[in-house]
């Protein structure tokens, strides 16, 4: 059936309605079953190979990330961390086996179909989103070129937006179906938080699209390879995206849906065994995808800076190895950054979280779109060629904007500690009160 010369009778029965649907969806599709089966060629083999390898890497990576999280937290807090099962390396395996063997709790009052569906609803979008992210230079093989991206869809970034917002369903359904007040509150908080920050996330990406002129992630990577990283030319958008990505993945300092001091475990309070594990895998897989997305959109994706030869054709296997290494290194840095932030910053209060999303990030992103649109028009009018110089001009603008944001607009409200908000005379008075009450309690300070 390879090559397109398949006779009509070779098509299985199920193919007829599917083929009809394909014809409806895409009028450009040449008629006939032979054309429909044209996807049965070497690229399908490539797809299956890539799918299996990346999926395995994701699952093993997530398992190792749980270990890394505990090791990093131990390192930051000056402890040892897990060091018993195979000197710590076997810990994820032991945890996995434990989760498979644990008793599953199924409280009497839950809504059973939704309770069973919710972990799968969280798991599936988390592990499908990576499909459009390119992770290396194309690999030339004897059977044809293998692009290191599962599906280079023309809709690119829109696919990610569509799928990542599906993740909230799993969490909301888990919270509601559990019939537990803490779980319900966790689910509600999570949905409100995720949709609030999705706006800032979506808006911070518009300047990137203005510069690249395309939504496919491959084009965005190439555009950064020709000029400078978007992290430089669009620093403000990068900052907004980074903050929103933390909120979207429910990580500290925005992990209110599962704030253990307030809500036990939030939306997965009632879950145990492997169903709990699915939520856990989904959270870490989302973290990997968010890191890969930050790298792709703002830090040049798989390209290597200051080494143009490795980012361009003719492709060779060593270029693939180097670029794959560069991509993994960048993603691992951001995964470490996630953990670093988690064990450094305290949790936000819910009203602070909401006002940061709606009153700070949203107007900033909106204003930034206008500024970037105006700036590109201005630079074009001045005759600056697209490339490194163009990016550096925008970088200069961003430095000015960041200074304005931090020193004029913010005036120490978010960046500096909370005490900076209080007038100094008031602060002295408050300190005196505290000293007096400490004296009255007889403890001193």
């Amino acid at each position: 059936m390879i090559g397109g010369a398949a006779p009509v009778w070779a098509a299985p029965v199920w193919a007829v309605p599917v083929w009809g649907l394909v014809q409806l969806a895409d009028p450009q599709q040449p008629p006939g079953p032979a054309a429909f089966f044209s996807f049965l060629d070497v690229s399908l083999v490539y797809t299956v190979v890539k799918l299996l390898i990346v999926f395995t890497v994701y699952m093993v990576g997530v398992a190792l990330l749980t270990l890394a999280e505990r090791k990093v937290s131990a390192w930051i807090q000056d402890r040892l961390g897990p060091n018993r099962v195979l000197k710590g390396w076997g810990q994820p395996l032991a945890d996995g086996i434990k989760n498979f063997m644990k008793e599953e709790s199924l409280p009497a009052a839950v809504n059973r179909p939704l309770f069973l569906l919710a972990p799968a609803m969280a798991f599936v979008p988390a592990l499908v989103t990576w499909a459009v992210i390119p992770f290396g230079a194309p690999l030339p093989l004897p059977w044809g070129r293998m692009d290191l991206v599962l599906a280079d869809l023309p809709i690119g970034y829109l696919f990610i937006v569509a799928l990542s917002s599906l993740g909230v369903y799993g969490i909301v359904l888990a919270g509601w179906s559990s019939n537990n007040k803490y779980a319900l509150l966790g689910g509600l908080r999570s949905s409100a938080q995720m949709i609030s920050y999705e706006i800032a996330l979506g808006m911070s990406i518009i300047p990137v699209l203005i510069l690249s002129g395309d939504v496919t992630l491959g084009t965005i990577v190439q555009q950064q390879a020709r000029g400078v990283w978007n992290a430089l030319s669009l620093s403000v958008a990068c900052l907004i995206f980074l903050i929103a990505a933390f909120a979207e993945t429910n990580r500290l300092p925005f992990d209110l849906p599962e704030a253990e001091s307030e809500l036990i475990a939030g939306y997965h309070t009632e879950y145990s065994a492997m169903k709990f594990s699915l939520f856990f895998i989904a959270e870490y897989a989302n973290m990997v995808t968010a890191s890969a997305l930050i790298v792709t959109l703002f830090f040049g994706g798989w390209t290597v800076p200051f080494w143009a030869a490795v980012n361009q054709p003719p492709w060779a296997w060593w270029k693939t190895v180097i670029t794959l290494g560069a991509f993994l290194a960048k993603v691992l840095f951001f995964l470490f950054f996630y953990m670093w932030i988690r064990w450094t910053l305290p949790r936000f209060r819910y009203d602070q979280l909401m006002s940061l999303g709606w009153k700070v990030l949203l107007p900033t992103a909106l204003a930034y779109i206008v500024i970037v649109a105006g700036a590109t028009l201005g630079l074009d009018a001045l005759g600056v060629r697209r490339g490194v110089g163009y990016g550096l001009c925008l970088f200069g603008l961003n430095v000015v904007l960041l200074l304005i944001v931090f020193f004029l607009v913010d005036r120490g409200r978010i960046v500096s500690p909370a005490s900076a908000r209080v007038r100094s005379a008031e602060l002295t008075r408050l300190r005196a009160v505290r000293a007096r009450s400490a004296l009255a309690a007889g403890t001193g300070e």
């Binding site: 394909v22 895409d26 996807f39 797809t47 299956v48 890539k50 799918l51 989760n99 498979f100 063997m101 008793e103 599953e104 709790s105 199924l106 409280p107 009497a108 009052a109 972990p119 799968a120 599936v124 499908v128 599962l150 599906a151 869809l153 696919f159 509601w176 559990s178 019939n179 537990n180 007040k181 803490y182 779980a183 319900l184 509600l188 409100a192 949709i195 609030s196 706006i199 979506g202 808006m203 699209l209 002129g213 309070t269 009632e270 065994a273 492997m274 169903k275 009203d351 006002s355 009153k359 949203l362 107007p363 909106l366 779109i369 206008v370 649109a373 590109t376 028009l377 074009d380 697209r386």
Partner: protein
């Protein structure tokens, strides 16, 4: 259409995995339910009433505002992609605009759009819909 086949494969594969994981853990574990185990866990306190009661209106408010601003974002995506074509009076030459042909069309159209929505945003803020306590 061909480009979407890998995504379809991936979705089927991941769903199969999710079903397999839930099913496998269902088969491997033994369940010994007791009345205590089957009550909702609320920090050891016997649960009082049903959890599915009325909740704060603010969550619904956020959902409504989200729809407005998310649709705004969706409208801005095609504008952002087409911005270079929109800000050039004639068709682009090699991805660049010929000298002296720049136009403010793209920018002004979006300024009007953002301006209207910004007015709505200020109204919502002044009404206190963004206030969370």
């Amino acid at each position: 259409m061909k480009a979407y086949v890998p995504v379809l494969l991936l979705i089927v594969f991941v769903i199969a995995n999710a079903v397999m994981i839930i099913g496998l853990s269902h088969l491997l574990t033994r369940r010994r339910p007791t009345p205590e185990k089957q009550t909702p866990y609320e920090s050891g306190v016997p649960p009082l009433g049903d959890a599915r009661e009325r909740f704060s209106i603010k969550f619904s408010m956020v959902a409504m505002l989200f729809i407005i601003f998310d649709i705004e974002t969706v409208f801005m995506i095609p504008w952002g992609v087409a911005y270079r074509e929109l800000s050039c009076g004639v068709p682009l030459v090699h991805g660049g605009c010929p000298t002296g042909q720049l136009s403010f069309f793209g920018l002004s159209e979006m300024l009007v759009f953002i301006g209207i929505l910004f007015a709505g945003y200020v109204y919502v803020w002044k009404k206190g819909a963004l206030q969370w306590d």
